[in-house]
């Protein structure tokens, strides 16, 4: 620290500057982070949560806008768009929960006291929960039946699990988004081809178990992908 060679010998200017810098450089936690700290009982986990790319304000606003557009479209045309959009949007969000803290500094993250798997789990749950809440609100606002309002939560779980598995396997959020979206589109289109309705994928109750089984498999893959180590030497 320059300049500490002058001044009275018994005054530690270096220490004074550090005390000033500590206050000037710190990032004061916002209300969300403070709440997360209390809820998760871990300041590290809370900080990791609020730095999730898909939980930042811009992303949330974009999600809300997309779902609101879907609700409006539904009110206009009668086709329930929200149940079709929500899983896709959520899957993208989940893939981008796999962001700072996991990749690119993945190696460093794996040496942290707050484990990277814990971070990923908390982020994924938060993203899922928020997307579900936004989707339910949009769905209710678009005036469709209760079955359709809630029916897409299970497919959404499957789509998110797929995106998560792909992202963690490929160590790339973009791959996760691509695979998740592609998987969902294929599912919707196959449902349409099989039964003639776009919403087959979200309303057919026979699909619930297969969706859940699929989600569990993808979850297992994600758990495995975050466990094994990559790279040699």
């Amino acid at each position: 620290m320059s300049g500490t060679d002058a001044g009275p010998p018994d005054v530690d200017l270096g220490r004074v500057w550090l005390a000033v810098a500590a206050q000037v450089w710190r990032r004061e936690p916002g209300w969300a982070e403070r709440a997360a700290r209390r809820l998760l009982r871990s300041p590290g986990l809370a900080r990791a949560l609020v730095t999730t790319p898909s939980l930042l304000l811009g992303w949330l606003i974009a999600t809300a806008v997309v779902l609101a557009a879907g609700a409006v479209a539904t009110l206009g045309t009668g086709t329930p768009y929200v149940p079709l959009l929500a899983p896709a949007v959520a899957a993208a969000g989940i893939a981008y929960a796999y962001g700072p803290g996991i990749d690119p500094a993945w190696e460093l993250s794996r040496s942290m006291a707050v484990s990277d798997r814990m971070v990923l789990l908390v982020r994924a749950l938060a993203v899922f929960g928020l997307n579900a809440a936004l989707g339910l609100a949009a769905s209710a606002a678009s005036g469709v039946t209760a079955a359709v309002t809630f029916g897409w939560l299970v497919p959404m779980t499957a789509a998110c699990a797929l995106a998560l598995a792909a992202a963690t396997l490929a160590k790339s959020a973009n791959v996760g988004v691509a695979v998740g979206l592609a998987g969902w589109v294929i599912t919707v289109l196959s449902g349409n081809a099989a039964a003639g309705r776009l919403t087959t994928a979200v309303t057919d109750s026979a699909l619930v178990l297969p969706y859940l089984a699929f989600a569990v498999c993808c979850g297992a893959i994600a758990a495995y992908a975050t466990r094994i180590t990559r790279g040699t030497s």
Binding site: M1, S2, G3, T4, A6, G7, P8, P9, D10, V11, D12, L13, R15, V16, W17, A19, V20, A21, Q23, V24, W25
Partner: protein
């Protein structure tokens, strides 16, 4: 960058400018504060000073060229020191205690001796401790209280406070010979 530009940068949120300001000005501010406070209090006052600079840089009005920054900084430092003194106890004990043997400041021992001698003499010129001018000077200048408060504490009208302060300043000026140690704020 000169001091004015640095302060403007700090007002704009540039913490590197604050750091530069600190490295330039903290040493002499510390030396001046050391003439009023013990070392530990100097560190606290200096810390509060630069945090105040960080928050209040937008309030700096550079009216005259050159040297204004030093005065402004010293003004903040003095205020912080006064706050500290008010919180931690009577001022009268602090001044003599500061000049303990071995409390020589590096950089300018001659200045330190001069300052001490000047101040001792000046304080003596104000009369005995507890006397009207001495008390007014202590409350008004050392503890930086507003006139109304000093009047209330001493149980005299504000006008009396002002005239006593005027007399105290005259006595100090006379004792200090109007030299560099008179008053603060000059760099």
């Amino acid at each position: 960058m000169d001091d004015d530009e640095l302060i403007a940068a700090v007002a704009g949120g540039d913490d590197a400018a604050l750091r530069e300001l600190f490295s330039r000005h903290a040493p002499w501010l510390a030396a001046r504060l050391r003439a009023m406070l013990p070392a530990a209090e100097v560190e606290d006052a200096l810390q509060e000073t630069f945090l105040a600079v960080w928050q209040g840089a937008s309030g700096y009005r550079w009216a005259r060229p050159g040297g204004a920054a030093g005065g402004w900084l010293w003004g903040i430092a003095r205020r912080q020191a006064a706050l500290l003194l008010r919180r931690r106890g009577p001022a009268a004990v602090v001044l003599p205690a500061v000049f303990a043997p071995g409390g020589q400041q590096a950089g300018d021992p001659a200045e330190a001796v001069l300052a001490r001698a000047d101040l001792d003499q000046a304080v003596a010129a104000l009369g005995p401790a507890g006397g009207p001018e001495r008390e007014v000077w202590r409350l008004l200048y050392l503890e930086d209280r507003p006139v109304a408060e000093v009047a209330q504490l001493l149980g005299v009208p504000a006008g009396t406070v002002k005239s006593r302060a005027h007399r105290a300043r005259r006595l100090l000026r006379g004792a200090l010979g109007g030299g560099p140690a008179a008053g603060g704020g000059k760099r």
